[in-house]
Homo-oligomer: 142 residues x 4
């Protein structure tokens, strides 16, 4: 399964990310980038980007990165620390693998604005299922 196909799969099949204006813009082995242009619906009650929107953007990059080897990986644990708000512009999450074993994988992700300022830091761990991602890909093609 090629990287282009994995990227296309996530952009087509991840309904929650699509509903919230998020796109995977790059996938390599153990790496992925997700982006969103901030909209009024991304804000919280204090008028800045919602922690759930930041988390979801990082989680989306994490999902693409952790599935980049073609084996289905599911998030079991993740955490986010939030340093700075944002009201407009593009936010970019980049997820990188820091450890890989047959059943578990560990990733970290940064979320930055277009000026390169760090808004949040994310860590995530996946459990790898004995299922090829391709089986989902074909399913969603039908």
């Amino acid at each position: 399964m090629e990287m282009n196909n994995i990227q296309a799969f996530f952009n087509r099949a991840d309904a929650f990310a699509s509903h919230n204006g998020m796109t995977i813009t790059e996938v390599r082995e153990g790496f992925a980038r997700a982006e969103m242009d901030l909209q009024p619906y991304h804000m919280n009650g204090a008028g800045t980007v919602h922690g759930g929107a930041l988390f979801t953007l990082a989680d989306f990059a994490f999902a693409a990165a952790s599935n980049s080897r073609g084996q289905l990986a599911l998030s079991i644990n993740s955490s986010i620390s939030i340093f700075k708000g944002a009201k407009e512009g593009k936010l970019i999450a980049e997820a990188r693998e820091i450890s890989n074993s047959p059943k578990l994988g560990s990733f970290e992700a940064s979320i930055r604005n277009e000026a390169g300022q760090l808004l949040a830091s994310f860590q995530g761990m996946v459990y790898r299922k004995s299922v090829a991602l391709e089986s989902l890909l074909n399913e969603s093609d039908r």
Copy 2:
């Protein structure tokens, strides 16, 4: 500021939660409950509820609970462990304060389905600003 007003504020002013079909259904001092009826747009690429949707529901309850004393509280760190998926029905997140100091507060939240099964466990910490939540309330009334 009364609990009814805090509940109404979050349901009116939290745009990301509204955009994703989430509602605060109860606020008490140090406690809040948020609910969502699962829709197709809550799903991930594997066809089960997105980790970002689970996180956002818990984070929404956490925000209402941590602001329930009327002082503005902002999330600085949170984590989620996911145990079980869901494809339909109502999900309920309940957040409870476990520690409170003048500047910091710590909360835990559970996410359950209608059968009461635990889908995910969430922990969050807030930093309390020297600002009354009421100042935001009035602003969003304008």
Copy 3:
């Protein structure tokens, strides 16, 4: 393998816990309690109990609780939030299972002083190996 044996195994075989004055005082299925009497060597540079000592006490209870079913379980991820210091007296950590599957288990633990005040809250996840704890028990009997 009986609970008494599991408790005895951890108190005999966990060298780091012994070196730091920690004892398992109860093990039940999915639960364990660990205790330590604070000593000068448990303190940090600020003169209060070290975060590493709090973490280790909770982690020790977590290890006993997560191995209480007799299958070897190894910690893959854990977190601690610290609310309050302590300089003397007994500290008690209680770990409880909140989710269990064939390969993964999730636990939370509290750390309290003798007055019942919450000093810290801990969460941990284990990966279950296809190895009986008994194989370690026998090994350390030799």
Copy 4:
């Protein structure tokens, strides 16, 4: 307060780190390194380095790094993911600041063996008190 003094302070005043054979070998602004030579007392019941020993080493580096600006900083939240065990040799934890504000600081730390293999990844957040670290330094000089 000079970096040499901060390093000396932590090596003299952190009783729990000393009791467990840990030393700060470098402090720079927003960075510190801690080391330990594995001993039998660092092991857990499964015969590999204890999660509490890994955590404490990273926490010690984190404490020195977060206090490197000379203002007292206390850990409020931290997490560790463990990827690999170790039975002997030297372990090295390096903590780096990733975000800094007047009241809060966020750090990440790696723990590696002498071959450079990543054993664990650590994240931590501190709350900065309005107290100079020097006040502790002088106190412990008496």
